[in-house]
């Protein structure tokens, strides 16, 4: 009993610690611009300071913001899908095949994942301008993929190694080609790993700021985190904080949505029953 109380208190503390900034942003997003300029310290808007949903409707009415949301969703989803497909194939090869330089591939992948993002921005900026990828969707998708692939490959190859090899052999004896065995038996079983990799990739792409701000110049490819910094309003000395807050809240919604969808697919113990344990 005492133990349970302790766990409860601990959970509440951690939740407060994590969610307080989020709650504060939400609180800000419901206050009027005037109230923030005058200073409005309360968590709930004082009487007359509340803005209702007007900040949200203003944000969503903004063309620049809508375009940024579209960019972010498009770029992140394409990067995620491509990255997961390539990582699945690569991880399968690494888990199942013996080939020269396997260790080298894995080590390099890890090294790339540890590479500081910011050090690549300069060279990429120059390269992209020369070959015409600057300020385009592919210009962001490619670096996102190269940074998320290593992690995805590592996660997935761990999953593939857990799948009993007999399943694939059984499928081949049952009349499947290697590709059919992979698609109809191995991939469904690796689904938890695939979705884990997908979530990680999507996070990285959605939250990226450095590439987003450096490799874009117009609305044609600028993602949300970068776009929010251009959200200055009419008066550069008086930033529309409540609008920004509303924008921040709106930009978090897709990621919560995606995580909720994907985590249902991450069911542990999917392979149980395949073989006698």
């Amino acid at each position: 009993m005492r133990n349970k109380v302790g766990i409860f208190i601990g959970c509440v503390l951690i939740l407060l610690w994590c969610l307080l900034p989020v709650a504060w942003i939400i609180s800000l997003s419901f206050k009027s611009q005037a109230a923030i300029t005058n200073g409005s310290p309360g968590f709930f808007p004082a009487s007359g300071d509340g803005a209702g949903w007007s900040n949200y409707s203003d944000v969503l009415a903004n063309d620049q913001f809508r375009r940024a949301i579209l960019n972010s969703i498009g770029i992140s989803l394409i990067a995620t899908v491509l990255s997961v497909i390539i990582a699945t194939l690569a991880a399968y090869a690494i888990a199942r095949l013996e080939f020269k330089g396997k260790k080298f591939v894995l080590t390099m992948a890890l090294a790339i994942a540890m590479f500081p993002v910011v050090s690549l921005v300069g060279p990429l900026f120059d390269m992209w301008r020369t070959i015409g990828l600057y300020d385009t969707w592919p210009g962001l998708i490619i670096p996102y993929m190269s940074f998320t692939l290593p992690l995805a490959i590592w996660t997935l190859s761990a999953f593939f190694r857990e799948i009993p090899w007999e399943l694939e052999q059984a499928a081949q004896v049952d009349g499947a080609t290697s590709w059919q065995a992979f698609r109809r038996v191995i991939v469904p079983l690796a689904a938890p790993g695939v979705f884990t990799a997908a979530i990680l990739t999507f996070f990285f792409a959605w939250n990226d700021f450095v590439f987003g701000i450096s490799l874009t110049s117009t609305e044609s490819a600028r993602p949300i985190p970068a776009a929010l910094t251009f959200f200055v309003g009419a008066d550069p000395f008086n930033r529309p904080a409540s609008l920004l807050a509303a924008g921040a809240v709106v930009s978090t919604i897709p990621i919560i949505f995606i995580v909720l969808i994907f985590q249902r697919k991450i069911v542990a113990g999917l392979t149980s029953g395949a073989v006698k344990g």
Binding site: Q169, Q172, V173, T177, L270
Partner: protein, 404 residues
């Protein structure tokens, strides 16, 4: 349906170790062939070469009238049951059984009809919508068999299918497999390390040791005419007794006394010096319960019984003896080959349930010397073998164990 002809198959791994060495086995159409041997004898490798999951180094694998050496598993039209079942955990029992049919692009009506027929045969009807994770070991085993019988495969291959089941279920599934095979009349190759499965299921049994075929014969032939010490020790439970023996004329000197053997056996064993005598436990009997008429076909000797295990219908008595070093060494090597522990040398004899012999007694034991085998201790060859009733025995020179 097809015969499987294994011709001089060799499997060498990268390090040059021959896991299977020049094995030739002809499996007739509809025959139930057993590959048996202790772990590491190459039986599973051989099976995997038949099905195509393992490359063949040299030799020819013929299924029906096709050489299949270079065909992929899916092109060989064989069905296999894996040791750990290898069921697809994301599919229901129905979909598991339907999997090979759907790969073959059968229409749904045919699939349904065949799956229902298979599930009826295997009594899986009430489990069709369940996932493998929710099934018991025996049920999973039946699903794995369902996946095999649903296709019109040329042959069934079983890789130790019962080794994961408990003893009672194993007995039931064993008769189930035998019944199914007789009913379908399909060529079957079955790998096991359990000699009881080998004896009860097989039309013929191939005994392997370290990649080399030792003897290929019916269970009865293997039991009564083992080709060498290894086969003799492997087949039968409790195993055959091995005793040091000296042959002089028609009398054989054993650690417990001298017994008389038939003249033809004595002739074959003459001039070899120290031999190993192999006598099955049931060739012995308490002399007091043996009928007079039968007594004359054997000899009796006196020995002190150390332990008696009375099982009701029969009893096992244990009699320790000393073996000379040259025989001892050979018996220890044999014990290692059989995956056994090197225990002290003792005689295990099977007595009638009515025998009153108790531990510590000095009993008079009768032995049926017509059932005695004599082995050459250096080569392990059975000198008294009846070649007409021994199937195919690999000659000693080739079956000798390779050291290192």
């Amino acid at each position: 349906m097809a015969a499987i002809d294994i011709k001089h198959i060799v499997k060498k791994y990268d390090d040059g170790f021959p896991a299977v060495n020049d094995v030739s086995i002809d499996v007739a159409d509809g025959e139930f062939m057993i590959l048996v041997g202790p772990s590491g004898c190459g039986k599973s490798t051989l099976l995997r070469m038949i099905v195509g999951l393992e490359d063949i180094t040299s030799g020819e694998m013929v299924i029906g009238d096709r050489v299949v050496n270079d065909l992929a598993p899916r092109e060989r039209n064989l069905a296999m049951v894996f040791q750990n079942y290898a069921l697809y955990p994301h599919l229901t029992v129905y979909d598991n059984i339907a999997f090979p049919l759907r790969l073959a692009k059968a229409d749904e009506a045919t699939v349904d009809e065949k799956v229902r027929a298979a599930s009826k045969t295997l009594e899986l009807d009430e489990h069709l919508d369940r996932k493998p994770a929710n099934l018991s070991g025996g049920q999973r085993q039946r699903v794995a068999m369902g996946r095999a019988i649903v296709r019109d495969a040329d042959a069934f291959l079983f890789d130790e299918p019962l080794s994961n089941l408990d003893a009672k279920l194993r007995g039931q599934m064993r008769s189930e497999i035998a019944r199914l095979q007789k009913k379908l009349g399909i060529t079957t190759v079955y790998v096991t390390h359990d000699q009881i499965e080998a004896m009860t299921l097989g039309d013929r049994v191939a005994v392997l040791k370290r990649g080399i075929l030792q003897q290929l014969a019916t269970p009865r032939e293997l039991y009564s005419n083992p080709g060498n010490l290894f086969v003799a020790g492997f087949i039968g439970s409790p195993p055959m007794n091995f005793l040091p023996a000296k042959v002089e004329g028609t009398s054989v000197e054993l650690p417990f006394g001298t017994v008389e053997i038939p003249a033809d056996k004595a002739e074959k064993a003459a001039g070899h010096g120290l031999l190993i005598a192999g006598i099955r436990p049931e060739a012995f009997e308490d002399a007091s319960v043996v009928e007079e008429s039968k007594k004359r076909s054997g000899s009796t000797f006196k020995a002190t019984v150390e332990v008696v295990e009375w099982l009701g219908s029969e009893a096992f008595a244990y009699i320790p003896f000393e073996a000379p070093p040259e025989v001892q060494k050979q018996l220890q090597q044999l014990e290692r080959d059989l995956d056994g522990e090197s225990l002290r040398t003792q005689l295990v004899i099977s007595l009638d349930g009515s025998s009153m012999v108790a531990a510590g007694d000095e009993a008079e034991i009768w032995v049926d010397t017509t059932k005695m085998h004599l082995f050459d201790p250096s080569t392990g060859e059975n000198l008294t073998i009846d070649h007409e009733h021994a199937g195919r025995v690999t000659p000693v020179a080739e079956s000798a164990p390779q050291e290192g």
